[in-house]
């Protein structure tokens, strides 16, 4: 009798410990999970990662023009120069477009930056397909170094009619410390 009670207790304890560990892992899993949720729903203007053009291509909607506006900003004390080649461009949904963004590092040491995109209105985010974007990777620039970073994108033809202007904003974050400590590990 006592044996069975003990087993029950052990099993219950193990289950509870399992739940605790599971929830702890879930806390960390929340970051990619929330990302996926935002990508699927376009919530908060987050755009997806690299878009792969379907094999049979995308139909171009030649009757319609969409204005794509580019905003660039530095976050907090990020000192880089950062500006778009053009402030805006008129594009047709379905068309592949390309533009560049200029960045340079005036600080006295090598720095690493992460560009974070955000789209307004956010329900347009899921229709902004980037095939190549400097925001997919970290950017490392030595002191005084400058680059022109490419962006290639397609606006999905299913973009709602009500969206005539789509604003894509990039914010540069200084992640030199974050990457340094990750590298040090």
């Amino acid at each position: 009798m006592a044996q069975t009670d003990q087993n029950v207790q052990t099993r219950t304890t193990l289950k509870l410990v399992g739940v605790v560990l599971g929830m702890f892992v879930f806390g960390f899993a929340l970051v990619p999970l929330y990302d996926i949720y935002c990508q699927v729903t376009g919530a908060n203007g987050k755009t997806a990662s690299a878009y792969v053009v379907p094999e049979d291509g995308i139909a171009v909607d030649s009757d319609r023009w969409v204005t794509v506006q580019f905003l660039t900003n530095n976050n907090a004390s990020m000192p880089w120069s950062f500006r778009p080649e053009v402030r805006s461009m008129k594009v047709r949904p379905g068309e592949m477009n390309q533009t560049t963004f200029y960045a340079s590092n005036p600080a006295g040491y090598t720095m690493t930056a992460q560009a974070i995109p955000s789209v307004a209105p956010f329900h347009a985010a899921e229709y902004m397909h980037k095939t190549e974007c400097f925001c997919f990777e970290q950017q490392v620039l030595a002191t005084g170094e400058a680059i022109d970073m490419p962006l290639r994108f397609i606006i999905d033809p299913y973009l709602p009619e009500s969206v005539q202007t789509l604003t894509l904003s990039y914010t540069l974050f200084d992640i030199t410390d974050m990457t340094a400590s990750a590298a040090a590990e």
């Binding site: 929830m23 976050n75 974070i116 974050f173």
Partner: protein, 532 residues
């Protein structure tokens, strides 16, 4: 002569141990209830002092008394202390004292865990209050501590704030488990769930809410800790995270939390009004279902605290509709209390005064809450004093008045003495006037455009701010009278009968006043009719 020394511990038949260690080691639900209540009163006065610093500064435009950095610490600490140190422990204290007696149980199901649940709190709050003396000051990011203000831009004390929250959370979770196990397992034979007093029902439901959401709070502060110290980026866009994620997780805890702070109040008022109306609670079954509906709905409305954050329109509409729905079961409860009073035979002793004031003033707070749920209008109310007025109406003449009502109602049972009725009524009227003079004008300044958490304001808000500050001092100092009344009652007074109140129903009124140290060591015989 026997070699065995007989240890006859007759002591426990004559009452509790003497001395300080009694309180440290007690596993008795009455002692622990008393500890919680005194702790909460001390925190109430502490948080109250912080409120008076705030209102003293806001008495006139200009910075007279404190600098903005310290003002932000006061608003933050006032909120944290009142929510986690005053309101919640008071309700837990009442649960400890009353639930076992109301269901005919000898004690809580897990008495040692009960002791531990209480004793965590003084440590947690010492740590929290000590942050006021740390370099960089106390937490200054509001009791809602949004990231990244509370992560990347926080003072060093944020880490101690996080630990204090962890401790408080553990205390609440353990306490709630205790309540659930007690209510489900230790009811007197024959007491079905639908026979329990409403206070027991509201605490059963509140305990489930606590168990569900306190871990979420622990989760969000742990994610903060990781962001601050361990290089993660849950709430930082630069690392791929999102500050708005913080708000979602926080308010998933935060909204049920405010219902945690009001459901026990509903239970208290549902015990007091029938007694003083000499009429059974109207619609007992409805009241139970309404409470359960409110609790369920409280999980699915959290983003109404985030209407200006830029959610998609579908999200905003959904949360608006769900939030408006909560008005229905809440309204049902208010109507049932009114119907209990209707055609009763009422007298207005102090507990009844507080209970009726609760119903009226909480309803005002509820109605301003309904206004807040309307999204386009909320764009003009959000983060202004209109919100401050709303939540203070539901918390102060809401939760706090119910706690005071409970204190007056049950003090004679706890102490064996009647409190001084004239002083009690004086305390009520001073508090009633104070609370309304303080918070009603805040509706006006909020609508007129004054944001919250401002240490200074434009001149057009001056008059009502002055009025509000005067009210705050009236209300604040009246609580010293309450302290006096409670101590005076404990020390002596007109002897109370077992039944105390003409018309009181419930098992706690069948035992002696003061309640013996151990009650219902054998389960009671329940009377024929139900307890409701």
């Amino acid at each position: 002569m026997s070699a065995v020394i007989e240890n006859h511990h007759d002591d426990h038949h004559h009452g509790p141990d003497k001395g300080l260690m009694r309180w440290v080691l007690t596993t008795n639900h009455k002692d622990i209830g008393t500890l919680y209540l005194w702790f909460s009163f001390a925190m109430f006065l502490t948080g109250g002092c912080m409120a008076l610093v705030i209102r003293a500064e806001l008495f006139q435009p200009g910075l007279q008394l404190v600098v903005p950095e310290f003002f932000n610490q006061m608003t933050t600490m006032h909120g944290l202390i009142m929510v986690f140190g005053a309101v919640m422990p008071a309700f837990v204290g009442l649960a400890n004292w009353l639930v076992p007696m109301m269901i005919g149980a000898p004690d809580m199901a897990l008495p040692r865990m009960n002791n531990y649940s209480f004793w965590i709190l003084p440590f947690a709050f010492s740590m929290l209050l000590s942050t006021l003396f740390m370099e960089g000051g106390a937490p200054n990011f509001g009791w809602t501590f949004y990231a990244p203000l509370s992560t990347e831009y926080a003072p060093p004390s944020v880490t101690f704030f996080i630990f204090a929250v962890h401790l408080m959370g553990i205390s609440s979770i353990m306490g709630s488990i205790n309540v659930v196990v007690t209510i489900l397992n230790l009811r007197a034979p024959g007491m079905r769930l639908m026979d329990m007093p409403l206070f027991v029902w509201t605490w059963l439901i509140t305990a489930y809410l606590l168990i569900a959401v306190m871990p979420v709070l622990a989760g969000v502060v742990t994610m903060m800790l990781m962001d601050i110290h361990f290089g993660t980026a849950f709430f930082s866009a630069g690392g791929g995270g999102d500050p708005v994620l913080f708000q979602h997780v926080f308010w998933f805890f935060g909204h049920p939390e405010v219902y945690i702070m009001i459901l026990p109040a509903f239970g208290i008022v549902s015990a007091i009004i029938p007694t003083f109306a000499r009429k059974k609670l109207f619609g007992y079954d409805s009241m139970v279902y309404a409470t359960a509906s409110i609790a369920f709905l409280s999980f699915i409305v959290w983003a109404h605290h985030m209407f200006t954050v830029g959610m998609p329109i579908a999200g905003e509409l959904y949360f608006m509709y769900a939030t408006m729905l909560i008005a229905v079961p809440t309204g049902v409860k208010v109507f049932n209390w009114a119907a209990t009073m209707w055609q009763g035979s009422m007298t207005f002793e102090t507990p009844m005064l507080f209970a009726v004031a609760f119903v009226i003033l909480f309803t005002i707070g509820g109605l301003s809450g309904l206004m807040l749920s309307i999204v386009p209008a909320d764009f003009q109310y959000h983060d202004t004093y209109f919100v401050v007025a709303h939540f203070h109406y539901v918390l102060v003449p809401g939760s706090i008045f119910s706690i005071m009502a409970a204190a007056y109602y049950w003090l004679p049972k706890w102490t064996g003495n009647m409190y001084d009725e004239t002083l009690g009524k004086t305390h009520f009227w001073l508090s009633f006037v104070g609370v309304n003079v303080t918070f009603f004008p805040q509706h006006f300044i909020g609508l007129a455009g004054m944001p919250r958490r401002y240490p200074d304001y434009a001149l057009q808000f001056a008059d009502w701010n002055m009025v509000s500050s005067v009210g705050a001092f009236i209300f604040g100092f009246s609580q010293l009278l309450f302290l006096f009344i409670v101590i005076k009652c404990i020390m002596g007074g007109k002897k109370a009968t077992d039944e105390v109140w003409d018309g009181a129903e419930g098992l706690e009124w069948t035992i002696a006043s003061p309640a013996p140290y151990h009650t219902f060591s054998t389960p009671p015989e329940l009377p024929e009719r139900s307890m409701a």
